[in-house]
Symmetry: C2
Subunit: 401 residues, 2 copies
């Protein structure tokens, strides 16, 4: 049964040439999670009655199920509303993060529920061959453990820690040593025997927040990620900007001080040298005389340590200044702050907001109430890249399509 | 005759709801100048045979004419190729620049040939009422002088020196004193009795370069304008990014030095304090003891004055650093350098390129040959904003549509 459904779904899902109404509805469902009939009509441009008929058909063939969602925007005090979602049993996706010294794998159903989430520790210089071998083995095992058919796997999304060229090749500025120039589809598609989608990890993170997270419904926003590195993504008109060499949104390498310390990218004084988790950890280690992971720094600051509060606030201050520059360039209405540092909440966000407001071109007083940009923490602070890789498959997007 | 044609054209041009093949072809012609049948087929998605039939019909009714264009891309040594263009006699457009202390008006035909170009000097604090009165009078006179029917005027494009909110209201950060909050369509449409299109002047400049200038055929580029102020625009996927408050591309207010001099925008150390024509003129005046317009500075530098060469080179250096930051944010493949300073040519562009290359994240060696971004001077250095305002009408775009 599960197999038959997947075959049907795969047909609708991959028939990209065919712009049939039913394919449009399936894509609207896979790209947005639970949605109402009106929302599907709006996003596909189809008549409401057409959408209703198609949904009824899809329900009869078990490809679509009804789900209850909380109504948040209406004033009717959270009365649950009916929405539609792809049948979770209709297929599965894999999202992968190629990280520094590890590979993370998320197995999710087409309704983006996480069925498994594993991290494979590897040596820091693992190469493409090793990665391919380890991945195929781990994914096979996951499907066996969960008694799921591999044939139900619709595609594999890959998030990469670094810019990805439009050709699908990893760029030198990537954090992965030894992967520069590697063609991701070329190595993974033969080994995994599934369609491969790939993008930069921050672009994936933006996709996850846009599809199911802090930016749901937002067509224009900036994702700003303060993690071991600093990066981000720009979403304009519902699409993640990729840039000529796949390097749009590389906020970590914005120049802060041309005479500053040397950066791993080959320049001096890049933003990430002033506000990444790595930098905060180095400072904390110097003070404490022992390693202090960023989670501990945030924990100590939350309990009242003024030194670590200052460390986080200073990172927020420099980040806010950079966001003001980004604001002068792209003038975003919403900033989703992501990465490990975002778990510090207002310890980071308050100084960040103040700094943005001080340095931005468009001040709060220039705008009507509610028009000043919002700064919100991301929803997927620990796995946005992998969830976004799942999103690449469901949205059928990414650099390699 | 001219009147009848305009009526036909107006019909096709403004029937935005009707996505008829013929309306699509007319819009492809008005938005691109002279184009071949294949180019129209590509940009409209219509079959080549359909396009040919439509073009034949349009030619019979004198709405479209054949023109010869030089073939640049083929190897056939400049053999002229046949292309199609709207009949210049089919209608006219007005492009206006609301500048500081003056209003400039360009009258162009639908094939974007400039029929008249006048500048009306006004007091520096002219307001919306004065502007409306002066404009109606001047435009009426232009049509009389050129014996053109006002009924043939398809629309009026307005370029504004400052950000324009999505609502069509001029923002505080505009260079026009007393215009903050003014609704441009609200004041101009009743007075001119024509459809009004409007956008920020740099966005207009980008449109002119994209339609007929240095960025013809480019879907992704950054326009960077070094003029009395510093500004610009980002074009992604063939569209000018507007930003939440219409303030995308306000590169002049990127932070260079948070302890720098106060800027007219209310911040400190903004980019335009380091590389605008105004800044260079102030420095030259200090040295020479008399006013020196930027054209004179460039002229003296071209004749070998090492001091003024240095002045221009330093502006190029700081501009290149800013472009590297913009590159880390949007990763553009093409930078069109515009404004009065761009007339300095390589005196500006060489140090600018070197500085970009030094500070950019993606180095030349990271890319295949030909993939490193290009830096080219704009084609419309003296009137790109007004030409772009004409483009707003022909493209039927801009903030107010």
């Amino acid at each position: 049964m599960a197999n038959m459904i997947s075959d049907d779904l795969r047909g609708l899902f991959y028939e990209r040439e065919v712009d049939s109404p039913v394919a449009k509805v399936v894509r609207a469902l896979s790209g947005h999670g639970a949605v109402s009939t009106s929302q599907i009509a709006r996003s596909t441009g189809l008549a409401r009655s057409t959408v209703s008929t198609i949904l009824a058909d899809l329900k009869r063939s078990s490809l679509v199920v009804e789900v209850e969602v909380e109504t948040r925007t209406t004033g009717s005090a959270g009365r649950p509303a009916l929405a539609h979602s792809l049948n979770p049993e209709a297929g599965t996706c894999i999202g992968i993060l190629l990280g520094l010294g590890e590979i993370r794998i998320i197995l999710a159903d087409v309704a983006h529920s996480v069925l498994a989430d594993v991290t494979l520790p590897l040596e820091s210089h693992y190469g493409p061959e090793k990665a391919t071998r380890v991945l195929r083995h781990a994914i096979d095992n996951l499907y066996k453990e969960h008694s799921l058919p591999y044939s139900g796997l619709l595609g594999v999304g890959v998030a990469v820690s670094g810019p990805l060229a439009p050709s699908g090749k990893v760029m030198r500025a990537s954090m992965l040593p030894g992967w520069a120039g590697v063609d991701l589809r070329g190595i993974f598609e033969p080994a995994l025997e599934k369609p491969i989608f790939a993008d930069n990890e921050s672009n994936c993170a933006a996709l996850a927040e846009m599809m199911w997270g802090a930016a749901t419904g937002a067509d224009n926003f900036v994702l700003f990620k303060l993690d071991s590195g600093v990066g981000g993504a720009i979403v304009a008109g519902g699409k993640v900007l990729s840039g000529a060499a796949g390097a749009a949104g590389e906020f970590g390498h914005m120049l802060v001080d041309q005479h500053g310390p040397l950066c791993r990218c080959g320049n001096r004084g890049c933003l990430e040298l002033y506000c990444s988790a790595t930098t905060l950890e180095a400072e904390a280690r110097r003070l404490l005389g022992r390693p202090a992971p960023v989670a501990d720094i945030i924990d100590m600051a939350s309990r009242g340590d003024v030194g670590f509060q200052r460390l986080i606030a200073d990172a927020g201050d420099v980040a806010g200044r950079a966001l003001a520059v980004i604001g002068s360039v792209v003038n975003a209405p919403l900033f989703v702050i992501s990465g490990a540092l975002a778990t510090a909440g207002d310890l980071l966000l308050s100084p960040l907001r103040m700094s943005y407001e001080k340095h931005a071109l468009i001040k709060r007083t220039d705008l009507a109430q509610g028009e000043f940009p919002s700064f919100v923490p991301g929803r997927f602070l620990s796995n946005d890249n992998c969830m976004g890789a799942v999103g690449l498959v469901l949205r059928h997007s990414g650099r390699l399509t």
